[in-house]
């Protein structure tokens, strides 16, 4: 059951800061698994905003048109995307310290994943559906990048990530590279998907380290997909499963109205 943003009948006029406070207070009354479900199943800040007087629009057809134009923008962005163009890289001295934490929940609610018993699931249009331990992933050729993470909100931060070039990983699992999408499922119930050309971009990294250390919990342990060619919300953290598919998988924010391609 997904929360439908069209449910606009209830008039609950709360400023956005109060909405967040309300969510936290309500969520605080719940134990962890239920709390994450509560946050994920629809009463997100965005979802509540739809319940206020200020929704995207008071007309379903206007929202429908806006979403269609967003799909059009996906195509325009795919056209603009140059698979050989590299995002700018920076010296370590320009790194943003500390690198900000950002999620749709607070830092103390970030998921705890036990690295010892952890195995990355692989599914969909791939030749080899083996599970991967962190040891096995760390044994693959490692790369590093110092790039700018750009948030859809407008702020940005320069960080340093290390890990496996994602195209290398896709080759190792025998992924069908003619497929349209690569999807991700995360330990915090976040999910998203990307286009195959971006998945194959040389700077798309399955990040296992941050600033030379094992990727910490707050930045997405056990792994994050780092793409300097896409906005922050497209870079999933706490990845537990990767799949290749031709069926549009959507995304946590994308299903609520954010642009799917999300390219920078």
């Amino acid at each position: 059951m997904r929360f439908s943003p069209r449910n606009r009948k209830t008039q609950l006029a709360l400023p956005e800061d109060d909405q967040r406070a309300l969510l936290r207070a309500a969520g605080g009354l719940l134990a962890p698994p239920a709390r994450r479900l509560f946050l994920q199943r629809g009463l997100t800040v965005g979802g509540l905003a739809m319940l206020t007087g200020c929704s995207v629009t008071d007309s379903d057809s206007a929202e429908h048109l806006l979403m269609k134009i967003s799909r059009l923008n996906d195509r325009a962005q795919a056209f603009l995307f140059d698979p050989t163009r590299l995002a700018p890289t920076y010296p370590a001295s320009m790194m943003t310290r500390p690198f900000p934490f950002n999620a749709y929940y607070s830092e103390d609610e970030a998921p705890v994943v036990d690295g010892q018993g952890f195995f990355l699931q692989v599914s969909g249009m791939v030749a080899r559906r083996d599970i991967w331990s962190l040891e096995q992933l760390n044994a693959l050729p490692q790369e590093e990048q110092i790039t700018r993470h750009i948030c859809v909100e407008g702020w940005s931060a320069i960080g340093r990530w290390g890990g496996v070039r994602f195209s290398t990983f896709l080759e190792r699992i025998g992924a069908d590279l003619s497929a349209k999408y690569v999807g991700f499922k995360c330990a915090d119930d976040y999910f998203t998907s990307i286009d195959m050309p971006t998945a194959l971009h040389p700077q798309t990294l399955l990040a296992l380290q941050y600033d030379g250390q094992t990727l910490p919990r707050k930045y997405g342990f056990p792994m994050k997909l780092r793409m300097p060619t896409k906005l922050g919300y497209k870079n999933p953290k706490h990845i537990v499963e990767i799949f290749v598919t031709n069926d549009y998988p959507g995304g946590y924010w994308e299903d609520q109205g954010y642009n799917w391609f999300g390219g920078s």
């Binding site: 400023p15 956005e16 800040v45 965005g46 905003a49 739809m50 206020t52 200020c54 929704s55 995207v56 629009t57 929202e63 048109l65 806006l66 979403m67 134009i69 967003s70 923008n73 603009l80 995307f81 140059d82 163009r85 995002a87 700018p88 700018r148 750009i150 948030c151 859809v152 909100e153 407008g154 702020w155 940005s156 300097p228 060619t229 924010w253 609520q256 109205g257 954010y258 642009n259 390219g263 920078s264």
Partner: protein, 208 residues
């Protein structure tokens, strides 16, 4: 028996239409695009303010960041296509040259001083005075700047030349904001001027 359309009659009919249809259509479409981009842009700004203030919620469009972005990235197409069509027709028809040329700093200074003294005449609405030429050309320039800086923010990786022209990603956001502020200032002055000379509003609706 009807009168033949003599050259004199035809010329006078043409002279009577001060603003051709395409100018008027472009003007009002631009207004719609601008208002949507401005109000949704303010909501986007509020998500991560550059300066020490936020725009009042009532003045913003979209309800939340996701909604504002949908409006912003829809209206940008209207602004761009309408703007390009307006510029293309202006150049091709010769109107750009006829209406905006010549413009010298001397003329601008003289007309500006006359305006401050309340002595700038508006009898002939078929010709722009120097202040108008400067203001409208300035508005066009600001619109070009707001679009280019917006593109640099949106596609900082795919359009590196533009990004660097704007001084980098963070600087592009500031340029985008400043160009927006310039356009708001232009709009305020423009609306006040129209209110002072209401015939101009009729002109932009009827053409004459």
């Amino acid at each position: 028996m009807s009168l033949p359309a003599t050259p004199a009659l035809a010329a006078s009919k043409q002279a009577a239409t001060v603003q051709p249809g395409w100018v008027r259509v472009a003007h009002w479409l631009n207004l719609i695009a601008f208002v949507v981009l401005l109000s949704s842009g303010w909501r986007i700004y509020n998500a991560s303010p550059i300066f020490d203030f936020k725009f009042p919620r009532e003045l913003t469009l979209g309800g939340w960041l996701g909604g504002a972005l949908l409006w912003h990235f829809a209206a940008m197409w209207l602004l761009a296509f309408n703007g390009l069509a307006y510029l293309a027709l202006n150049i091709a028809s010769g109107r750009l040259r006829r209406r905006f040329w010549p413009l010298t700093p001397r003329q601008l200074f003289d007309d500006f001083v006359a305006a401050l003294r309340g002595r700038l005449g508006h009898d002939d609405l078929a010709h722009y005075n120097a202040v108008q030429k400067f203001a409208y050309l300035g508005a066009i320039a600001l619109l070009v700047l707001v679009v280019l800086s917006g593109l640099a923010v949106w596609k900082s990786v795919q359009l590196p030349l533009l990004r660097e022209l704007m001084g980098g990603f963070d600087s592009a956001r500031v340029v985008h904001f400043v160009a927006m502020a310039g356009l708001v200032f232009f709009t305020l002055v423009h609306v006040v001027m129209v209110a002072l000379v209401p015939r101009t509003l009729l002109l932009m609706i009827r053409g004459r």
